[in-house]
């Protein structure tokens, strides 16, 4: 399993969101995560792909979503890229703030951060790359506690 990598180029559609979620579910299961962790990873991937399709590429058929699953020595790493305007991590509102609590949207990145061990957001000019990392429990070099 270590070293395994799946790379896909997805259209900016709702079907891509479901495909990415299903691929991540299968990959996480084969990486040895338990049922609860698989659910968290799958949801984080779903939210990240929604971000790319909806907020990044705005359903533009000319723009693609890059999607990669990778099993490293100690982690599962998911990389999702879009070709949109770019996401400034410093400008993401806190969905837990009282003034934002009853807003309809704005919880995606928050949920991704809640469910993954590490989340890296990089601006691509144009576009955004989200790298989601979940450490495999008991794997060699597992550094989950050290990173918290």
């Amino acid at each position: 399993m270590v070293g395994k990598r799946v790379t896909l180029t997805l259209d900016s559609t709702l079907d891509s969101v479901n495909s990415a979620e299903e691929s991540a579910t299968r990959f996480a299961a084969s990486a040895g995560f338990d049922e609860d962790e698989i659910a968290r990873i799958s949801m984080a991937v779903r939210e990240a792909t929604i971000n790319a399709v909806l907020h990044g590429n705005a359903y533009d058929p000319a723009k693609k979503v890059g999607f990669q699953l990778e099993r490293t020595r100690d982690s599962m790493v998911i990389t999702i890229t879009d070709q949109g305007q770019g996401l400034d991590p410093g400008k993401i509102p806190d969905p837990l703030a009282p003034e934002n609590l009853l807003k309809q949207s704005g919880r995606g990145i928050f949920l991704i951060r809640a469910f993954m061990d590490e989340v890296q957001i990089r601006q691509l000019h144009p576009g955004t790359e989200l790298k989601l990392i979940k450490h495999v429990p008991g794997a060699a070099g597992d550094n989950k506690e050290a990173s918290q």
């Binding site: 709702l14 969101v17 659910a39 949801m43 779903r46 939210e47 929604i50 909806l54 969905p95 837990l96 609590l101 009853l102 807003k103 309809q104 949207s105 919880r107 995606g108 928050f110 949920l111 809640a114």
Partner: protein, 114 residues
């Protein structure tokens, strides 16, 4: 599994039995249309039964919040019934558990409406 919504009335309370996934796309749209239809017909006591909802994403959470504010803005009350553990955990993480009036018994929930 796609989402389904069935509506029934008990003692003046409109109960919406939801099942499946409330996610971006069809699931969120069904929830939105169902609540708007009920509010449009003058219903002000709405109880969403989420007992068979096994999955909800941020779009689905957004639709629940939108339904809550839509009903409240019309002077009504929207409450939630029978949360699964996953949905319960999600509402806790997002601090919405304290916003919604959450019930786990249908009879008690119906009696709780003013």
């Amino acid at each position: 599994m796609s989402m389904k919504a069935n509506t029934r009335q008990v003692n003046g309370v409109m109960i919406v039995d939801l099942s499946g996934r409330i996610t971006l796309g069809e699931g969120s749209v069904i929830l939105r249309d169902t609540v708007r239809d009920l509010v449009g017909k003058g219903n002000k006591k709405i109880l969403l039964n989420l007992g068979e909802v096994n999955y909800i994403d941020s779009s689905g959470i957004g639709e629940l919040v939108s339904a809550f504010t839509t009903v409240r803005n019309q002077g009504g009350e929207l409450k939630l019934l029978n949360l699964t553990k996953k949905v319960h955990d999600l509402l806790q993480i997002t601090k919405l558990y304290t916003v919604f009036d959450v019930k786990d018994d249908e009879t008690a929930a119906i009696k709780s409406y003013k």
